[in-house]
Subunit: 199 residues, 2 copies
DNA sequence: AGTTTTAGCAGACGATCGTTCGTTTGGTAA
DNA sequence: TTACCAAACGAACGATCGTCTGCTAAAACT
């Protein structure tokens, strides 16, 4: 039948699995991911699917890692060359809102969904989610701090408060879009973020 | 052995099941709820657990309904007798932050978690979650509108925007507390909400 | 007192879960 | 050409999933 894959194709297969796992987990949740479903969809055996990872938990971690990579490409990479401080912060808001509005993941922001799914559990997956979220909040706070130092935000501004509020708005925007399907989410979100940055 | 229950005890059993299901689902998710686990914890048979509901989906709906009742008691009932408009809006923020900070549910706000878990699915459970969230957003917007009419908020204020932002902050606060365990979430949340109401 | 109703149990059902074997197959190196 | 290796397969494992069918026994009704 179809020719077997060579050693060089292994990574290719792995990536294909992760790609599809991202789509599935985006809709059904990381825990709702199923080896059997994945195998059926990819026309593979269950052993072939899980073989390159070792366990379902390892597959979950790889899926999470892949989703984070997508997120970084869609949001962070688009603002990395913008001048640090307030300009970059504004660019982040713009890229973020566009990302949320688009169809990067079929079930909305993957990291947001994963964080709410695992926030009551323990283990490596939860730890990975927490550290990713933590890193992102620190990035936001750092940019806000730079903005303060450059005089683009009031001296009394708390950078971590700015990070908290921007993140909350993004999470809330994701909820509004996915649950409610409201069409004006992008405008609402950007308006609210702008108000945070115009204190 | 143990005496059988009377007809009057049926509702009691049902409520006990729902109560425990709320705790379980708060941590593991509404879909992670398991008849077997529930039966073991309550020293009942699986048939006995699901008997009073009919199916797992009906049990999920009852659990959701129960959680919403708890939420209403913890948040809405505490502000229902406050003067409508800005005063009630402020009271809501206060009660909300207290509720989020407390340990009403072991896994954080049930409705928030459920909304992120089901926002990529379809069916009665998702519909119930959506309508509950929708109702709450309309309540918030109504209070904001009253506040505008009473002159406590600027005339140009968009009530639905206020509702959107307050809800986003609450959701973000829940995430911050559950995932990150930050201790100053309450202060951050109230400060942000106050800023929304002081435009 | 006799009948019906009801709550719950015990147990089994097919399906599917994640995991683990031994095997096959194609590519690579000796 | 031969020996080896890694990728993926097919098949099975025990466990658990949600659901269903009888059955028991207490309570309620007549």
């Amino acid at each position: 039948m179809s020719p077997r894959k060579t050693a060089a194709d292994a990574r290719q297969t792995r990536e294909a699995i992760v790609d599809h796992a991202i789509d599935l987990a985006s809709l059904e949740g990381l825990e709702g991911l199923t080896i059997g479903r994945l195998a059926t969809d990819m026309h593979m055996s269950k052993a072939g699917v899980v073989g390159g990872f070792g366990s379902k938990e390892a597959l979950q971690l790889a899926t999470l890692e892949g989703a984070i990579a997508v997120w970084r490409r869609e949001v962070w990479d688009r603002v990395a060359d913008v001048e640090p401080g307030l300009p970059r912060l504004r660019a982040v808001c713009e890229a973020w809102a566009t990302y949320l509005q688009g169809d990067v993941f079929p079930g909305g922001c993957f990291l947001t969904a994963a964080s709410f799914e695992f926030d009551g559990r323990s283990g490596p997956v939860r730890d990975a989610i927490e550290s990713a979220m933590d890193l992102w909040l620190r990035v936001l706070a750092r940019e806000a701090r730079t903005a303060v130092e450059q005089g683009d935000l009031p001296q009394r501004t708390d950078p971590e408060q700015v990070a908290f509020e921007l993140n909350a708005l993004a999470v809330g925007a994701n909820q509004a879009r996915q649950l409610h399907g409201a069409g004006d989410v992008r405008e609402r979100t950007l308006a609210a973020m702008e108000r945070v940055l115009a204190a």
